[in-house]
């Protein structure tokens, strides 16, 4: 018992001694760890940036101000400068509010949080190790709405040339001159496909894609529907147009109605020819697939904008032995149509289809006008590539200038 008490007393005494030694030695250790402040060295505060210039961003809706400044002389890549703080004073207030910051080495900033018609002034403060240094205030800038975007002048001129060509060729066609359009295999097959359905006594299925009327492919598809339904009305064949958008249903019904009236058979038209199914992509596909296997159409038109459902629809059509004419401008879906359909309209051919099928002067003229645009593009590419390749290789400044000029013609600001 005595030995236990003795051991406890020794343990306690030794703990007290250790703690005292530690406490006594702490100031000594602290002195060694904390560096002494040398009063002769000044705290590093970087020199402020200079010449802060604020300008209204050009050709916009008055929603942006472009800022530029000269970097702080101390911003030379060393670790002393952290960033630049952008501060803005709004008209009618007397204080600068920080709005954003940019990294060291950056000497410009676009403020896209301004309102048109209000005046602003800016200060750029550089932040360093021991403080920050603000610049002089910038000039006052008032962002304005620009009604014309002169950065798109080249687009306007090329657009004018193409539109002028379209008008010229329309007038040309209206005078009775024949306009040549090369054979497009997929479109040659349209009449044949409708005739086949008529002979077999089976309906035609027309799917105008799954996007709304805000997609040009849907509009192109409905234009082709106009031509197809005209022939269908003449042949007295059944046609079914299931759609996934209510607006497309309305437009499809109008198209069908106009075609049946033009064919002199308004009585044969029915609103049921174009029916809305659902906006849901795969719900729509499930319904169209069911329709295909139950009604067994002899001909399927899959024209318009498609996504993952393209192969499902094309494969189902293939499985029921229907002749299929497909077309889309979506590159990711075209391979599936090429693999599973009899004829495929590739991109531009879809848009050319209505002109090709109808042969109307307006549409033919439009197609010819577009060809003028393609011709210009081909010439520019050919000349530009030759000029830049040989201008580079042989260091001929004239060729390089020509190449730069041609490139600039098509660069959009």
């Amino acid at each position: 018992m005595n030995q236990i008490i003795k051991r406890r007393v020794i343990t306690r005494l030794s703990s007290i001694v250790i703690i005292k030694i530690l406490f006594l030695s702490l100031p000594v250790v602290a002195e060694q760890l904390i560096p002494t402040i040398d009063d002769s060295v000044e705290a590093f505060i970087p020199a402020p940036p200079a010449e802060v210039i604020a300008t209204d961003a050009v050709y916009d809706q008055g929603g942006a101000v472009h800022l530029e400044w000269q970097l702080s002389p101390d911003d030379d890549g060393s670790a002393g400068v952290y960033n630049y703080q952008i501060c803005r004073q709004q008209e009618g207030t007397d204080e600068y509010i920080p709005i954003d910051s940019v990294l060291a080495g950056v000497s410009s900033y676009i403020d896209e949080t301004v309102e048109p018609g209000r005046s602003y002034q800016y200060i750029v403060a550089v932040n360093g190790d021991c403080g920050s240094a603000p610049s002089e205030a910038s000039n006052v800038v008032t962002p304005n709405i620009e009604w014309l975007n002169f950065g798109l002048s080249n687009l306007f001129v090329i657009g004018l040339i193409i539109c002028g060509s379209v008008i010229y060729f329309i007038a040309h066609a209206k005078r009775g001159k024949k306009l040549f359009i090369r054979r497009i295999a997929g479109l040659e097959a349209v009449d044949e496909a409708i005739g086949r359905a008529t002979e077999m006594g089976r309906p035609i299925l027309f799917v105008p894609g799954i996007l709304d009327m805000d997609d040009v492919q849907t509009i192109a598809a409905l234009t082709i529907l106009g031509r197809v339904s005209r022939v269908v009305a003449d042949y007295d064949t059944k046609i079914s147009v299931p759609v996934s958008r209510s607006l497309v249903m309305t437009a499809a019904r109008e198209t069908l109605k106009a075609s049946y009236m033009a064919a002199g058979r308004p009585d044969a038209y029915s609103d049921d020819m174009a029916s809305y199914i659902t906006d849901e992509q795969f719900g729509y596909v499930a319904a169209v697939d069911g329709k295909m296997v139950r009604e067994k159409p002899a001909t399927c038109f899959l024209l318009g904008a498609f996504f993952a459902e393209s192969l499902i629809l094309a494969e189902t059509g293939n499985s029921i032995g229907a002749i299929q004419i497909a077309g889309t401008a979506r590159p990711a879906q075209l391979p599936f149509f090429v693999a599973a359909c009899d004829f495929t309209l590739i991109g531009e051919e879809l848009f050319a289809a209505s002109a090709y099928l109808s042969g109307e002067p307006k549409q033919m003229g439009s197609l010819k006008g577009q060809d003028v645009g393609k011709g210009i593009a081909m010439i520019i590419i050919l000349l530009g590539v030759i000029a830049t390749t040989f201008g580079n290789a042989w260091n001929i400044s004239l060729l390089r200038r020509i190449a730069d000029f041609l490139r600039t013609l098509f660069e959009v600001g």
Binding site: I184, D214, T278, G283, K368, L409
Partner: protein
Amino acid sequence: MDAIGLWIGAFLTLGIISFLYKDNPWYKLSEAIFVGVSAGYWFITLFWDSIYSKFYIGITDKGDYYLIVGAILGFLMLLRLVPKIGWISRWPLSFIVGAISGFYLINYFSSNVMRQVANTVMPLFSTEYGQSLFTAPIGTIVANIIVAGGTFTGLVYFFFSKEHKGAFGVTARIGIWVIMITFGATFGYTVMSRMSLLIGRMDFIFGDWLGLIK
């Protein structure tokens, strides 16, 4: 409740997959439920997103009175239901088609035509000014030739005003070959992404429902 949803989901998934065998009552039931539920869901979504959030809140809270123009056009569409004045519904339709065509024309033209042409004007065999021919890496030379040549020959293929005969026809044929090779690459790439959809459903069946995949 979750278990019931899981069983219904599995039942409908298998119903849709049963179409691979042939059209059958199970598929018809799944299809009808899918179409009905999704149509109802979209109706509610569009009502709250467009009519309530955009139009009603826009007018009452934000004072965006220009939205009334859209509402009037939408109302005119409904006049189709009145046979005598149904023709008025063509006006908003014409407005939508015309306005959208004009609006997207600039975007399509600048991205699909202008930028494409500007980016195709490139040196084929060198990368910097003053370099002699064939100084660029072989990979860059091949890539440049494919981009410039492919764009040019592709344009020739889509030129409708001239018969594809002679040198023009050969160039157009090269163009369609380039397009088809691109389609081949796209086909493989897209099939792989579709496989992930299938894997997702299989994971649901064998993992979430049957618990065979942990």
